[in-house]
């Protein structure tokens, strides 16, 4: 380049159009992929037919069972996950980090694998099978198995959120509380929990949403027994074979609940 000549400004007309066009086209494709099925669910039926779909005898027991099992799962996850997260958040040793990764595993595990894993742990021939059998407990194909499957897949979402919340706690607050005579339980209940609960609630909501959608592991480990293990996702699967309308009505319920949860979680995050 010769000195004194300003660099020639290159006007590339094609790039000026191609870039926004590519952005728009590719983003639009993905948006369509998400929005079209939702639109299909919502707009291919009429309110009357949707209500009729809910009259199917599958629906009542599935709704009740889903509410009961997901609430039980979230209670189990919060009750056991909060102490676990508190411990993991405060340990720096590498072994604890490994444990933290292991807890995450169900997030990336295919649900079918989760189902097989649960059977091999709690099934009749599983690791704990003989022990449970001797106690007269048969977990597979019971409502308890549904809760177990849901807790297995949904726990990491809560534990991860809780670990992050506890790590965000200002260490000086904990230190000062201790110098003021507070025991560890008091620090936990009067400092850590009050300052972390919005994040814990968000994690619990996320867990609940995941438990609500649990299908694969439940099907393999708990089966698809009406009133006992047939939660909403399984009822949708069953209804699909006979009555698309019922499947659609149930799906809409789940979409609405899931969307409401998502909005609530996002509102919580912004707070």
């Amino acid at each position: 380049m010769s000195a004194g000549t300003p660099p020639r400004e290159r006007r590339n007309g094609l790039a000026a159009i191609a870039w926004p066009a590519a952005l728009g086209l590719l983003s639009g494709l993905l948006l369509l992929l998400v929005l079209l099925p939702v639109a299909g669910l919502l707009f291919t039926s009429s309110p009357g037919r949707l209500l009729r779909g809910l009259a199917d005898p599958l629906v009542g027991p599935a709704v009740r069972l889903t509410v009961a099992t997901t609430v039980a799962s979230v209670v189990v996850i919060v009750a056991c996950g909060t102490p676990l997260a508190w411990v993991l958040a405060r340990r720096r040793h590498r072994l604890w980090r490994v444990l933290e990764t292991v807890i995450e595993l169900p997030v990336v595990l295919p649900p079918a694998v989760a189902g097989v894993a649960l059977l091999l742990a709690f099934g009749r021939r599983g690791l704990l099978g003989p022990t449970l059998g001797a106690l007269g407990i048969g977990l597979p194909f019971s409502t308890a198995a549904v809760v177990l499957a849901q807790s297995f897949v949904a726990a990491p979402f809560y534990v991860q959120a809780a670990i992050a919340a506890f790590r965000r706690l200002d260490a000086d607050l904990v230190l000062v509380a201790r110098t003021l005579g507070a025991s560890w339980p008091r620090v936990f209940f009067t400092v850590a929990l009050p300052l972390s609960w919005p994040a814990l609630a968000g994690g619990a909501a996320l867990s609940w949403a995941r438990a609500l959608g649990e299908f694969g592991a439940t099907l393999m480990f708990a089966g698809n027994l009406g009133g006992r293990t047939q939660t909403l996702p399984l009822a949708i699967y069953t209804a699909l074979e006979s009555d698309l309308q019922t499947a659609q009505s149930l799906s809409i319920i789940l979409v609405v609940v899931a969307f409401a949860l998502l909005v609530a979680i996002r509102a919580g995050v912004r707070r």
């Binding site: 200002d170 000086d172 607050l173 230190l175 000062v176 509380a177 201790r178 110098t179 003021l180 005579g181 507070a182 025991s183 009067t190 400092v191 009050p194 300052l195």
Partner: protein, 239 residues
């Protein structure tokens, strides 16, 4: 009541080896030194957050740590008040709730003790405020009240003026120095500011690279500075 704080600790704090011995009587004692010299680590060993490998920490007639005898009183039973650099007020409690946190007794007793302590520090008007609504100087007073309300046997302050705006620092410093002297409580104050040393008028312990290099009054340090840091510190040019 004079509760003498006697410190003789040896231990590791991260990459630094701390080997510090000094004692502090009622009133302010200043712990001075460059950044990374081990001032805060020393405080943590006195508080019981960091465990020395060996040595002894005594407060009045109590032994808080004795490596040889296997004594290590847990942090929450040492009764040493602590005011951290950024005050660390509990954001979910109001001022009274913060100050009452370390007070034992019934709810009414705790609240009364908190209000009394706030009144002693001319902070009674802040009682129902939230920490987020306080100025830096007010936060410092509340943090001090919180540390004192539980009747500690000694008080540690980690750079209590560093978080303040320079425009208010001089006033807050004067008031704090007056209070600390009036309280006649054994108080160790970490600082690297000459003006703090001038205002608190207490004995000074200089720490460099994890060890005490000089102790004495400001006048002694000024007359006979033993290290380059002390020479610069007494001229008001420490970092």
């Amino acid at each position: 009541m004079n509760r003498r704080l006697e410190i003789d600790v040896h231990g590791r704090a991260g990459a630094l080896t701390v080997d510090v011995a000094f004692s502090a009587d009622a009133g302010p004692t200043l712990l001075v030194g460059p950044n990374g010299a081990g001032k805060t680590s020393t405080l943590m060993m006195i508080l019981g957050v960091l465990t020395p490998e060996r040595g002894r920490v005594g407060l009045g007639d109590r032994v808080l740590f004795d490596g040889g005898a296997g004594v290590d009183v847990p942090l929450e039973r040492r009764r040493i008040g602590f005011v951290p650099q950024r005050y660390a007020l509990f954001p979910h409690l109001d001022v009274v709730g913060n100050v009452a946190y370390g007070v034992a007794g019934s709810r009414a007793e705790r609240e009364r003790a908190a209000r009394d302590t706030l009144a002693e520090l001319d902070a009674a008007a802040l009682a129902k405020r939230r920490p987020q609504e306080l100025s830096g100087g007010e936060m410092q007073r509340v943090a001090l009240a919180r540390a004192l309300a539980g009747r500690p046997h000694a008080l540690l302050m980690d750079e209590p003026l560093a978080a303040l705006d320079v425009t208010v620092r001089a006033d807050v410093r004067r008031a704090l120095a007056q209070r600390v002297r009036a309280a006649m409580m054994t108080t160790v104050i970490v600082t690297h500011d000459l003006e703090d040393a001038q205002a608190f008028e207490g004995p000074i312990v200089v720490i460099e690279a994890g060890a005490v290099v000089q102790t004495g009054r400001l006048a002694d340090l000024t007359a006979r500075p033993q290290t380059e840091f002390v020479r610069r510190f007494v001229r008001g040019r420490s970092p």
